[in-house]
């Protein structure tokens, strides 16, 4: 039983699969890269802000000894006021060796959460202060805690916003790379598929003429593998033998 060749044959399925494969591949790359990137940026920024807060707390603690010993609380207040002007630092308070809050930057008053907390704590702790927001608080002891403790509150909302901005910028870049990559891949696949379609079309033409094949098709002029295959097809249709077939 003989079958007639189709009137128009295009390599849609092959292209569709390739395109699907590219999407899947790039998708995996984007998701994994983004996840890793967001985690890394988030973790590094959080650590950086926490580290900055800890450094500020330590610097204040190191500088406060003489001021505290002189009981010069106005100078101490002046000192911490300047640090609160630093972005992301939202509050600072200093407790004495007995746990009393000696100086702070809270308005209109010291929140109950702070009053009820451990005045000597130095480990980072997350706090939610009513009407103020969420904070990470770090502490630094003054004279090993005997003279008091400096507490620095970092605005978590602001840090989160900065992390979102940083990761958003990374996502933006990755998406652009994804789109450019997909478009580029499609273009490269098309470069490969177009000659194949020409070859297929030529082969279909050969089959329709049943041996009376055209000898002036452009595909025969190609000097690549497609041209070689077309010439081989023509040779076979004309009754020749494939080189190396015997």
């Amino acid at each position: 039983m003989s079958t007639n060749p189709p009137s128009e044959i295009r390599i849609k399925r092959l292209f569709r699969r390739t395109r699907f494969g590219i999407f899947v591949l790039f998708g995996v790359i984007v998701v994994s890269t983004s996840t890793l990137s967001i985690r890394t940026v988030s973790s590094q920024l959080s650590e950086e802000y926490e580290s900055n807060s800890a450094n500020i707390a330590k610097n204040i603690a190191d500088s406060s000894v003489d001021i505290l010993l002189n009981r010069n609380l106005a100078t101490l207040q002046s000192l911490i006021d300047q640090f609160v002007e630093i972005q992301s630092i939202r509050y600072i308070y200093i407790t004495s060796g007995t746990g009393e809050i000696l100086t702070h930057t809270f308005v209109p008053g010291v929140p109950d959460v702070i009053r009820d907390s451990d005045p000597f704590a130095t480990e980072p702790v997350e706090r939610s202060l009513p009407g103020m927001g969420d904070f990470v608080e770090v502490g630094s002891p003054i004279l090993a805690g005997r003279a008091g403790t400096v507490h620095v509150g970092m605005d978590l909302d602001l840090v989160r916003l900065k992390i979102q901005r940083a990761t958003g910028q990374q996502m933006y870049l990755i998406c652009i790379i994804l789109i450019v990559g997909i478009l580029g891949s499609i273009w490269f696949v098309k470069l490969a598929v177009t000659p194949l379609e020409e070859l297929l079309s030529y082969v279909v033409g050969l089959a329709r003429r049943s041996g009376d094949a055209t000898t002036d098709a452009k595909v025969l002029e190609r000097d690549d593998e497609i041209g070689e295959m077309a010439r081989l097809m023509l040779h076979a249709v004309k009754g020749g033998t494939t080189p190396g077939a015997d």
Partner: protein, 467 residues
């Protein structure tokens, strides 16, 4: 009591140099020194050496021997220029204006009578709006302009930022005379040697208030204070005074510097009301303290509300009188203000007639280009009387400098002031270990729309204390 609007009138008082915003300074030996660098230097001074290096501008630490560059401006032979950075704008502009008016009424007469050893006293004015950073910048400007000394600064948060600057460049021997603040930093090491004070300290004011309250049975004392060095200074004074009586601060609430009278103080009042205080001591400026007194009265916190001398009593009273529609005295029955100068209404005090006469004669006004917002000055006020006394003592010190005025001679001139009579009944003496001239604190309450001396705490607040 209120004066007429004169804020936009040109100055008709003694000569004044007034300048606009400051310029960058360039020291010749250590590269450009910007104001930002100097502000950081101030911060570094507060922090101490370890942190100073990391805070130096553009990674360049400010060496201790750093010299000021710029152009030297030798003072004219016929002038002694005093540098002033003060609050001529913002919610506390009344304080700077009144202090200036009092000082200029005295200097006006001095200059009219030939000045000090043939030199006129001239004030170079800069406005800092009662904000620390502009005050530091202004001080740098004044130092670059080679003023003879710094005089009449207003406020604790401003002065505490300037002190490290004076220490850092101590080889210039620039001294701050008679700042309008009773805080401790300019009275104690490490900065005490760079300032001379006339007024009593906040520690003395708060101790007096606490002692009197405790004496009449009001032991639960809360504090309402400005969230900065000034507020902390007063808070510390109250705390120390209460500790002597075996008490603690009953409650505390804060507000931000620059708060206006139109602000709502309900949160602060509610915080303090929960503490059930017998009295509240306010450590703030007049706008915020008036707002607090108003809201405390409206919300039923009926206990004595004390204010320190810095508040600006007439400004406070004027705001409260204006806030009560029907009865000007509605918000004032619980007020008690401490003062560091006697009442300007008491003409039996020798200096008072003299001050009142010169205020009326010269009626000094802040130069027009420094007037950002209108202000109605008072014919007389506690603050302008203090400014007058500051200027009177300053003149006495300058007269004690023999020959050409040089900063190196200032210490000796000040320390030679012994038992000097300013005309207020308290003699003034200075010495290497005595850098504050006056020790007295006076207490006043509102009667008939003005502050008068409080003589009987028991009668005023004890019976009425059923809150």
């Amino acid at each position: 009591m209120s004066g007429s609007r004169r804020g936009s009138r040109p100055s008709n008082g003694p000569p004044v140099h007034a300048r606009g915003p400051a310029r960058p300074i360039t020291p010749p030996s250590a590269g450009p020194l910007t104001r930002r660098a100097a502000i950081r230097a101030g911060l570094a001074g507060l922090l101490g050496a370890p942190f100073a290096t990391s805070l130096g501008a553009a990674g360049r630490p400010l060496a201790p021997g750093l010299r000021w560059g710029g152009r030297k401006r030798p003072q004219p032979d016929d002038e002694i220029v005093l540098g002033v950075s003060s609050a001529f704008s913002g919610p506390s502009r009344g304080l700077g204006t009144e202090l200036y008016r009092g000082a200029m009424s005295c200097f006006g007469q001095v200059n009219e009578q030939g000045g000090v050893n043939g030199r006129r006293i001239v004030l170079k004015l800069l406005d800092d709006g009662y904000q620390p950073d502009p005050c530091v910048e202004n001080t740098i400007q004044l130092m670059e302009d080679e003023v003879f000394l710094l005089f009449g600064y207003v406020g604790t948060p401003t002065v505490t930022r300037v002190l490290p600057l004076l220490k850092m460049f101590q080889e210039r021997q620039m001294y701050l005379f008679f700042p309008f603040t009773g805080a401790q930093p300019q009275r104690e090491p490490p900065y005490g040697e760079f300032a001379f004070n006339l007024r009593a300290s906040y520690d003395q004011e708060t101790a007096g208030l606490v002692d009197n309250f405790v004496r009449i049975g009001r032991r639960r004392i809360a504090v309402f204070y400005q969230a900065d060095a000034y507020g902390r200074s007063g808070w510390a004074g109250v705390r120390t005074a209460l500790m002597r009586h075996g008490e603690k601060i009953a409650g505390e609430a804060t507000y931000r510097r620059g708060t206006q009278f139109t602000s709502v103080m309900r949160p602060q009042v509610e915080i303090l009301r929960e503490a059930s205080p017998d009295a509240v001591i306010c450590v703030g400026a007049y706008a915020a303290c008036a707002a607090f007194a108003r809201d405390a009265m409206d919300l039923g916190l009926h206990v004595p509300i004390a204010n320190l001398s810095f508040v600006g009593s007439e400004n406070l009273l004027s705001l409260l009188a204006g806030a009560s529609r029907d009865d000007p005295a509605y918000y004032t029955p619980w007020l008690v203000n401490s003062q560091v100068v006697p009442s300007y209404e008491d003409t039996s005090i020798p200096v008072v007639p003299e001050y009142r006469e010169l205020m009326a004669r010269y009626d000094p006004q802040v130069p027009e280009h420094l007037v950002v917002e209108s202000y109605d000055p008072f014919p007389n006020s506690f603050v302008s009387l203090e400014g007058y006394l500051d200027a009177k003592l300053m003149t006495a010190v300058l007269r004690r400098i023999e020959g050409t005025p040089e900063r190196g001679k200032l210490n000796d001139a000040v320390f030679s002031v012994r038992n000097y009579d300013l005309g207020i009944g308290e003699r003034v003496s200075f010495g290497p270990d005595r850098r504050q001239g006056l020790q007295s604190v006076y207490y006043t309450v509102v009667e008939d729309g003005r502050f008068v001396t409080l003589n009987d705490w028991e009668a005023k607040f004890s019976e009425a204390g059923a809150s």
